[in-house]
């Protein structure tokens, strides 16, 4: 079973805009409200829109389960890996070793209200990206598995 052509076309058009907005929330997590979890949930909502609108065979052609599973695992490994690198550098677990270093994401921030700069934050943007990838894959694959659970039943 699939929804009407209007719903399917609207879902396809809105999917791109929702993904771009979710990636914006993930990337600007250290400047504006939001962050990895919120941005990943927004992208997963876009995937859920496509999954609900289309039939099982169409969704299987568009979204691969293996890709989402790899995304989720890679996000968690990257999150723990960034925290473990700090131990390798001789500091404590979860130490922010990139902050104020002048390299990647290493600009300093003056005290008080200011407009902000994207190239700040140390390891926080990396952790936002890792959690965003993980939540994106995790929440999307839950809905995809639920659809595959009912997909067999609908054909009968």
């Amino acid at each position: 079973m699939r929804m009407s052509k209007i719903v399917r076309f609207a879902a396809d058009v809105l999917f791109g805009a929702i993904v771009i907005f979710g990636l914006y929330v993930i990337m600007h997590g250290h400047l504006t409200p939001g962050g990895g979890f919120q941005g990943g949930a927004i992208v997963a909502t876009g995937a859920a829109l496509v999954i609900v609108a289309h039939s099982y065979e169409e969704v299987i052609g568009m979204i691969k389960k293996a890709v989402l599973m790899a995304q989720e695992s890679a996000g968690l490994v990257m999150f723990a890996g960034v925290a473990l690198i700090a131990i390798g550098l001789g500091t404590t677990f979860f130490f922010n070793f990139l902050a104020n270093s002048g390299s990647l994401f290493g600009m300093t921030v003056p005290f008080g209200p200011n407009p902000g700069e994207l190239n700040t934050g140390g390891v926080l943007p990396l952790m936002n990206i890792a959690v965003g990838i993980e939540v994106w894959g995790g929440l999307a694959i839950v809905i995809l598995y639920m659809l595959s659970g009912i997909g067999k039943k609908e054909e009968a």
Binding site: A66, M69, F79
Partner: protein
């Protein structure tokens, strides 16, 4: 009898929650010493404007690691349950 009893329980529970809510104050919490520390040093130590992100990912990073692990475990559980349900699916290649 059952209906009156449930209405009575609802009224008692509502009064209980209402009495608790009378003591709460909204919108103007006092700053503790830890709040002041985060606000004074957060921007300098983590080089970030968003103090919420600083606390979630830097000062309280262990909590976020646990949260990610909980999400991962929940998804693995759902995947295991539904894989048994949809056995014989051609897409299940792993």
């Amino acid at each position: 009898m059952r209906k009156e009893l449930s209405i009575l329980i609802i009224i008692i529970f509502g009064l209980f929650l209402g009495l608790i809510a009378l003591d709460l104050t909204f919108g103007d919490p006092d700053n503790t010493a830890m709040d002041d520390y985060f606000i004074q040093n957060g921007q300098e130590q983590a080089a970030t404007n968003n103090i919420v992100t600083t606390i979630v990912f830097d000062y309280r990073g262990f909590d976020t690691l646990g949260e990610s692990t909980v999400l991962f475990t929940a998804v693995i559980g759902v995947a295991l349950m539904y894989r048994k349900l949809v056995k014989g699916d051609a897409d299940e290649n792993e």
